[in-house]
């Protein structure tokens, strides 16, 4: 188990390196001079040169790349070109926001999707099942930004029951923290519930049809235990995979949703970083996102390993 984790983690390193490298050189393609942006139009060429030097931009891209890599190894992600703030600090303030959002949404999607999936699997072919399936297809099609705008309108502007925007830190007020995340989490969670529901439904249905469930049924073991102990456990692998896959998609969704709800998370940092040509910030955010994706995939693998001993062998 531990060795699988290590192996997978080691395998992720070159992957991350490629992403990091791509992010760096992609940014190199952006036109324009960051110094000019930071200094404004009234700056002289000499001043811009000076700032370029401070940013390390006078060196060749390869040189710059190698030194950012060296810094990365020592845990230094550099400083923002625009605010001179440490990117590490920037990310560490933004990360909790996006993490709260992503984790809550993952929990919601997994719980709701699986619960409904089990329900439908137990009633395969019934009206409820068919309605749920149609609904699952429909919610999957709702873009998170559209539902986010709608939610703001309904709950924050029309009925004023929840805050429209903003983020309260967990350690400041857990209640307000939760309140500030309810609408964004709904906006992010709605669409992924669909695929998770469908996956859970078919996986649980398949497990319920399996011989081993018939075996426990033949022993007179109650339905609830058939479903929860044997059905769900065996259906876990595809469900966890679906949840993981959708969590990755959900991370991307944070860009628009954070924008709409004005949450100071990674997505907001990314957008402002990209628009401001703030290479270190963008690179940092991209790296964090990539690490997030890798961690999600790793977690999925490990969880499946725990839940399904057969997979562990491989």
């Amino acid at each position: 188990m531990g060795s699988l984790a290590l192996r997978r983690a080691a395998g992720a390193v070159p992957l991350l390196l490629v992403v990091w490298t791509a992010a760096f050189f992609l940014q190199q393609l952006i036109h324009g001079d960051p110094a000019a942006y930071v200094l404004g139009n009234t700056s002289t060429a000499a001043q811009r040169d000076q700032l370029d030097a401070a940013f390390g931009l006078h060196r060749s891209p390869l040189d710059q790349y190698l030194s950012t890599c060296a810094n990365l190894l020592s845990g230094d992600l550099g400083r923002s070109w625009i605010t001179s703030e440490s990117v590490g600090r920037l990310l560490s303030t933004a990360l909790p926001v996006t993490l709260s959002l992503a984790l809550l949404s993952t929990l919601v999607t997994a719980a709701v999707g699986t619960a409904l999936g089990i329900w439908a699997a137990l009633r395969r072919g019934s009206r409820v099942d068919r309605i749920l399936q149609l609904a699952a297809g429909a919610v999957t099609a709702v873009p998170n930004y559209w539902i986010a705008v709608g939610l703001v309108y309904l709950f924050a502007i029309q009925y004023r029951v929840l805050p429209a925007t903003g983020y309260v830190q967990l350690n400041q007020s857990p209640g307000q923290w939760l309140q500030s995340l309810i609408l964004p989490v709904i906006a992010l969670s709605l669409a992924p519930i669909g695929p998770i529901f469908l996956q859970a439904r078919s996986a649980v249905a398949e497990a319920l049809d399996a011989d081993y469930v018939r075996t426990v049924r033949a022993l007179g073991i109650p339905r609830r235990r058939q479903v929860l102990k044997h059905g769900l456990r065996n259906a876990a692998a595809p469900i966890v995979t679906a949840v993981g896959f959708n969590t990755v998609g959900l991370l991307a969704g944070t860009v628009a949703v954070e924008q709409i709800f004005n949450l100071p998370g990674l997505g907001s940092q990314l957008l402002s970083g990209v628009l401001g040509h703030d290479v270190p910030v963008v690179q940092g955010v991209v790296l964090v996102f990539a690490v997030g994706v890798v961690i999600v995939n790793l977690a999925v693998d490990l969880l499946i390993g725990v839940l399904n001993p057969k997979a562990r062998r491989a």
């Binding site: 952006i30 705008v149 018939r214 075996t215 033949a218 022993l219 007179g220 991307a252």
Partner: protein, 635 residues
Amino acid sequence: MSTVVHHADSPVGPAARAGRALATSPLTLTAVAWLVLVVLTSVFADQLAPFDPLTQNLTELLKPPSATHWLGTDSLGRDVLSRLMHGGDTLLWGAAEATAIAVALGLPAGLLSGYRGGIADAVISWLVDLTFAVPAFVVLVALAVIYPQNTAVMMAVLGVLGAGAATRLVRNSTRTVRDELFIDAARVSGLPLRTILFRHVLPTVVAPVIMLAATSMAICVIVLSSLSFLGLGGSPEAPSWGQMIYEASQNITVDSWLLVPPGAVLILTVIAFNLIANTVRDALPGGPTPRPVRHRRTVLAETAAQRPDADPQTLLGVHGLVVEFPSGPVVDGVTFAVRKGEILGLVGESGSGKTVTALAIPGLLPIDERITAGSVRFAGEELAGTTERRLSRVRGRGVAYIAQEPMAALDPCYTVGNQLRAALRHFGATRRAAAARTGDLLREVGISDPDRVMRCRPHQISGGIAQRVAIALALTGDPALLIADEPTTALDVTVQAAILDLFRNVVATGERALVLVSHDIGVVADVCDRVAVMYAGQIVEQGETDSVLGAPRHPYTRALLRSMPSLDTAGRLPVIPGSVPAPDAWPEGCRFAARCALATDACKKGPIPLMDVSGPSPRTTRCVRGHDLAPEPGR
């Protein structure tokens, strides 16, 4: 071992099946129609739209829907409907571009990776993993700044990243096909790789790729509209659905209506793509099983149900049992009884209904199969048509069931010990007693090293051990009746012999009975006291094993025995012509008549009743010529 996997129920390939599924589902047809509508309005928007999408009217701002402006006007007084009609163009083209690139890259890469394996597979799989680790949306956001308003470039990159998913899908489909025997056969036929790929592999990949393409279109439409929403998509003036939603969001406090038309059109379009994808997926092999049909309420033959069990030694009495699939009956009036201490063999070829009969007794039929008539009395209690709650009290304690595939019958997630203990606990044992009893049970079923086996999970033990464990599991509730459905078919003969010995021991106490379902007459000869021969849903002959096998009174039994190869002789075997009729092709008269050398016109006239041909022991046969077949050696 000999479980038959039906690869296809219809005589066409998967791609054609997917196409047919698309054409026959009204919902999917609607989806296709909607997409056609969207595409056509996009293409002919210039001709169809009532207004120029860019022409503003500053005196008609944010107007609600009216006769002139069916969907109202926006913040510059432009016609919302006209903008909607023009707004799908970029989106659909962009999505199509990304999808085309993803498929164009993923198809060959997936074929290569899946069919060749080895290093190519390793490299391609690594690249695929890479695309999954790239936060695609982040990359697109960055690209929007490098190539502002250049949808084509963004979609190309999205396509390249999406190629990962396409590659994986094609690879996995290809791998599945590659392992198919018909590919081996084609290779042995010396067909060149090109032919194999194009004629055998590619067609099976087509349907998954169509599914993927539809899904990809849905995702790309959402991604592209998200970019427009964030102001990164295209020209701000050009109508696009995402841009329109952005505009709506900017006016949300003033006019929330504007959010509706672009949202609805966008969502409907994505739904349409998803619906098509789902329909294709459902039509693929391994897709969801067909929806079960609502059953009629079970009407049991009251006369049968009320018949008292004559013999107090009778443990199980099945009378006139009819089991129906949605398509019709598969077990048709089966009657037999089992007494304590007895082993009854239920023998027949595939399609005879023997397994369905076995499952029907403890009420374990799959969701779409149901007892529609007849009686199943166990120890005086009627089991047919009763509630799941009452059945579950009988199961395990009264009737236990042992399945054909021992591996599949044990939950792969739990250890053997865990499963046994859980069952014992269910039957009321204390934790401590359960732990102790587990070892004893395993020893009882002939496992010499119970402690070790207890710690194993099903995949860690051999088939023979697994079947012993399954039998131990069935014994946890100390049942009076065991039903074993082809319990040795999946096992090697040397193991089979040991398991059969075990069964004999289990029943040896005289208090238990066993119904053994098998297609192997040798197995029946080995352990069964009595045998019921089934053919096409009916019992055609029943009696004590040695008399039935020694002097069959039904032509089917006789022919079957004759057609068995023997260890002692070689050479041509007497054959039964034709094959077992499917349930929907059961004839009115004798169901074996078409294959029977002795058939006469009388055989085909109407249902043949069971005829009592008892000699020294009770004996029935379902043959009008049962008496003519009087004692003749079976072989």
